[in-house]
């Protein structure tokens, strides 16, 4: 049981570190975000009461009347009430509402694309690793080329070829704008058509890592004694591949899933920008270019929270599927 407790404890520390980082960044860096933000708010027709000012000062720093530790405690208190302030660029919507609107887009797009890339990459990697030294090995350099390609450039390239030259897919956006979002076949179909290119970009750019990791583990696993035993017992190669080698070789990939999620989220932030996709990443960049610091902070916190949560789930699952992890700690 202590394994699970340790893991939960670690993620609690990581969460605290992220919150503190969020508190510290605007206070350490030059510039006065509160004044910029309030000026923008007034431009949009918002009334700036002393309370609003105080709330933003807690979020972003700049209020010198309170000692730092006091600001920190109030900041944490505000966060636990879910109060992230009002978004300037989407005035008068509160930050949490903007996040809630854009969240499903990113979760579906990035989640689906990551799962597809992981399953495909691991399956291909197992196959390539099963026969080292054959022509299949020459696939490896090809995948490194894909892994070294910048996400957003691959996105540009795919858009150019598939959307502009061939005209198979729409250039940008998340759905056909004449439709109203809702759970009907027409809208979902449109969302799938629009999401295909961004998803393809993420799958292509991230599949190489999975393939390579699985292949290397497979090569190491094949030299284990239990594989030799299985061969000696006369089991069919297919059974050894499925039940003996792959199952053991896939473990680091499962652990890697969590870490790679962070990279995928990062990569998809810029990919969303290329496609003007209405997800979290596009909102984050929009917030940066509009100096919408409250939304920026909220989105950063939210992305971190999501990545930490996914990591925690994978770690706990890992403890279940690989009992050695629990035994060691």
């Amino acid at each position: 049981m202590s394994y699970f407790l340790r893991k939960i404890g670690f993620y609690a520390v990581a969460l605290w570190a992220a919150l503190t980082l969020n508190f510290a960044i605007p206070r350490m860096l030059p510039g006065n975000p509160v004044d910029i933000l309030l000026a923008k708010l007034q431009q949009r027709g918002g009334t700036v009461t002393p309370e609003t000012r105080e709330a933003y000062a807690l979020l972003l720093g700049g209020d010198d009347s309170l000692p730092l530790w006091r600001q920190y405690i109030d900041y944490l208190g505000n966060l636990f009430q879910g109060d992230l302030g009002v978004s300037v660029s989407y005035y008068p919507a509160p930050v949490s509402e903007v996040i809630a609107q854009s969240l499903p887009w990113t979760v579906v797009l990035v989640g689906l694309a990551t799962v597809i890339a992981a399953v495909l990459g691991v399956a291909l990697g197992a196959f390539v690793g099963w026969k080292p030294g054959t022509w299949l090995d020459s696939l490896i350099p090809a995948t490194t080329l894909l892994a070294a390609v910048p996400y957003f450039w691959l996105a540009l390239l795919l858009t150019y070829l598939l959307a502009r030259v061939l005209g198979w897919f729409p250039l940008q956006g998340g759905y056909d704008v004449v439709l109203t979002p809702g759970w009907n076949a027409e809208f979902i179909g449109s969302a799938i058509t629009y999401g295909f290119l961004p998803a393809l970009t993420i799958v292509l750019a991230s599949i190489g890592g999975w393939l390579l990791g699985m292949r290397n583990m497979m090569v190491s696993t094949l030299s284990e004694d239990y594989i030799l035993t299985a061969e000696a017992k006369g089991l069919s190669p297919r059974k050894i591949l499925r039940s003996y080698a792959s199952r053991n070789a896939v473990l680091p990939s499962v652990a890697g899933f969590a870490i790679s999620l962070g990279f995928v989220v990062s990569g998809s932030v810029i990919t969303e920008q290329v496609f003007s996709y209405p997800g979290i990443g596009g909102r984050l960049l929009g917030a940066v270019s509009n100096n919408d610091y409250a939304l920026m902070q909220g989105l950063f916190l939210f992305i971190t929270l999501a990545v930490l949560g996914a990591n925690l789930v994978v770690d706990l699952l890992y403890g279940l599927i690989d009992p050695r992890t629990r035994a060691r700690s």
């Binding site: 570190a17 030294g133 892994a147 070294a148 390609v149 910048p150 969590a258 870490i259 932030v269 920026m296």
Partner: protein, 348 residues
């Protein structure tokens, strides 16, 4: 906190035994001394080195050979021609000239961030693991926290808060280095833990060597291939990270990198105007440079992880044995149980 099992990670220390084993199999002597730290020349390594050298030369010498990248001409967006090999941008600027300067900028930031990130990871990974106990626990926790906090959103937020005028090359380099060292530190820690408990390290400690000397002279040389491979990865990651940051307009101000080129191409509607000569070359250079570095890393991998090399030998032998067996079986079947030399030859 680590999920990667130390046993599954390649250990440098195993390499000596395995190399000896290989040499008895192949009948060749293992290479001696420092040459063991150098990768063997393979076609892939040659291609990788070729790509790196070509692009580095283009970045170093190119800017002296091309014209002014900012010069505006009264010709607008034109495709590749004899005068402008890669065409011109919307304002008639020479794309090839821009590409040369941008390559130099990207390489510069890649090397700076690579060095910074490697230094950080070496400090937190090696020093923490060497000191052990509380220091190790604290450093390891710190590393793992940095590992799970998503890097790019953090970089974006930091860059968003720094005003554009004070966002110089070094600011971006430091921000990128701070968000990218954690993964390597974790691997280095695992490696150091295995090297730290060797007898010769204990011997030098007993003979009164100072800690920094033990680390630099006894431990560091064992980790050099790992650090080299991590440096290579750090450079790729830095170039990619910087390109992403510049592409969304948050890069270093007044610098020109491949990312800024793509930023201007995207904002100049290169995509919808079909100006492929504007946005394909910068990305291609990043991709080719990254591929070159990865190929070099594969060769370094063979030193760090001799299993990869030996296993190939084993496989080759196993395949040969299987083929002979198959031929023998075929021959047996044809000749009714008496395998003869001629039958075996005809089976081929």
């Amino acid at each position: 906190m680590t999920n990667l099992k130390p046993s599954s990670e390649p250990s440098v220390a195993d390499s000596a035994e395995l190399l000896a084993e290989t040499s008895t199999e192949t009948g060749r002597r293992p290479r001696a001394g420092w040459r063991m730290l150098l990768p063997t020349m393979t076609p892939w390594l040659a291609i990788g080195l070729g790509l790196i050298i070509a692009i580095a030369l283009f970045g170093l010498i190119g800017p002296h050979l091309v014209g002014d990248p900012r010069a505006i001409r009264d010709m607008g967006l034109t495709g590749p021609s004899a005068e402008f090999w890669l065409g011109t941008t919307q304002t008639g600027q020479d794309v090839l000239a821009q590409l040369a300067y941008a390559t130099r900028g990207s390489l510069q930031i890649g090397v700076i961030v690579g060095l910074l990130a490697t230094a950080l990871s070496a400090f937190f990974g090696i020093y923490g693991a060497y000191r052990g106990r509380v220091v190790d626990e604290a450093f390891s926790l710190f590393t793992n926290v940095f590992l799970v906090i998503p890097g790019l959103p953090l970089v974006i937020v930091i860059s968003g808060f720094v005003p554009a005028e004070s966002r110089g090359l070094w600011t971006i380099a430091i921000v990128l280095a701070i968000t990218s060292w954690a993964g390597s530190a974790r691997v280095l820690r695992a490696q150091t833990l295995s090297v730290r408990n060797r007898d010769y390290v204990a011997a030098s400690q007993v003979s009164g060597e100072r800690p920094w000397r033990v680390i630099v002279v006894e431990i560091l040389p064992n980790l050099l291939p790992v650090i080299a491979s991590q440096f290579v990865f750090a450079v790729i990651a830095a170039i990619l990270g910087e390109a992403g940051l510049s592409f969304i307009g948050l890069g270093a101000s007044n610098s020109s990198t491949l990312g800024t080129m793509l930023f201007y191409a995207q904002n100049g509607f290169a995509l919808s105007l079909g100006a492929w000569w504007w946005f394909i070359p910068p990305g291609l250079i990043i991709a080719l440079f990254g591929t070159g570095l990865s190929l070099v890393n594969f060769s370094i991998d063979e030193i760090i992880n001799p299993k990869l090399k030996n296993l190939r030998l084993h496989r080759k032998r196993a395949r040969r044995a299987a083929r002979l067996e198959r031929e023998l079986a075929q021959a047996t079947r044809r000749n009714g149980g008496v395998p003869t030399q001629t039958a075996k030859e005809s089976a081929r």
